[in-house]
Amino acid sequence: MKFAPFIIATLVALMLSGCANVKPWHRDLLAKDHMALDSDPLQSAFNDHIYFSKEASSGGRGFGGGGCGCN
């Protein structure tokens, strides 16, 4: 991953430029429930727990609520 720092910098710049300054009345679509970044926290928690106990990676979105003896 030699290109990692370059890729990260590009992603950050892309994120912060935000393409367009989105006007408040244009956020109606994003306000819908299914557009939330985590629209079903319980399901995400179930899935995160399953993958945490079967794989070597964890997290990404944030951090889970509590450890377990499963890994």
């Binding site: 935000g18 994003l30 970044l37 990676s57 997290g59 003896g69």
Partner: protein, 463 residues
Amino acid sequence: MMKTMSNKPYISASLALATSALLGHSAAAEEGWQVDSGLLIYNEADGRVQAVEPVIAVTRNFEDESSISTRLTLDTLSGASPNGAAVAAVPQTFTSASGIARLEQAEDDDDDHEIEEYGDRAYYVTPAGDTPYDENFEDNRTTASVSWLRPLNNGFKLNLGGAYSTEGDFTSLSVNAAISKDLAQNNTTLSLGMNLEFDEIAPDTGIPEPMTSIIAAESAGSTDTKQVTDVVFGITQVMTRRWVSQLNFSVSQSTGHHDDPYKFLTVADQGNLIEDPNDNGLTGVTTYLYLYEHRPEERQKMSIYWQNKVAIYANDAIDISYRYMTDDWGIDSNTLDLTYHLNVRGLFYLEPHYRFYEQSAADFYTPYLELGTDVVTAGTSITSLTEFASADPRLGAFSADTYGLKIGVPFMDHHEVSLSYETYSQTDKNEYKSAPAGSDLDGQDQFAELSANWLQLGYSVRW
């Protein structure tokens, strides 16, 4: 720039958002309660683990946009888990020191009930050519967590939380704090969070001394601990009217006991299983040499997570996320997750889902240890030349696909019921460790590919 007259657009939502922005709130505040409940039914192929997990979460939202949330999860697990020994062309009997001790005690006491109870646990047999599983895996875990969100001045928000989890042989306590700031008319949110976790492991057989024979019963104590610190920095950005994106950087440091006290590795001499010099001759069964695994006391992980959610038409959406993780155990992983939210006539929604995962093996992952190279014996003494080794498939190289479908049905104003079914299957990507032709380990499977499926039921209500 002026739009042509559309047929009575619905503006209440946009007006509410605009009003909140003018009055200096970051989002329209709605006071009320929310209860989310769920049930997970999980099943692995080949008679491995089965679990049933109910969960309930209660959230109270306040007018000032703060909220408190509590969650309770119960986990009942049972079934079989690979014990780390290699598949061999001969049957293998696994004895457990404490199992033997209990059985001997029961026989001395002439306690039929105890003999029946522990008879199974003293030893179990894996047929030739099968993956060795420890069948007696049963556990119940309870997790409780609480979280408090509070908006502060100037667009800052504070989140504090804690969690406590307990199961037969493991207890975990964690606290977390995060702060976030909204910028650019709420188009950008920066956040920084930290999680501190303290775990204690207390296996019923005690902590085995790593890299020692499983029947030698060398103990390193009855309990051990580990501490984990996670830090996450995130940027959430509204890119366009339809597209919101989140980029998170996380680092994690874990210090303490990482060994799985129930997992060990086969020691082979030119591919053949060796009798354990400590064999105490229990009921005339040949017990082979297996050494308890050992993992480093430190683990540092770093990950980058990028998620994008794009609204399609008026009511559909696509969710794409990618995560890259790397750690100092030599494991790198890539995860790609895709979900499409399809709204069907406003009556219900479908969410087909696909996840791709791949990981490389840990540096110390090996399907078995070699006599002479990794381990030497002299009489009854066994010395490991390798400091760290584990055959736990979770640390091996593999890829995995998940396919799933969820259906959600909203009803009666703020109620929703949902059902989701997913299947998961792993594919071995490890380098094969060849054994001499004709030996016990020659040509045998070296990685127990996991297949599992699960069903999730959910019910939410808000008022």
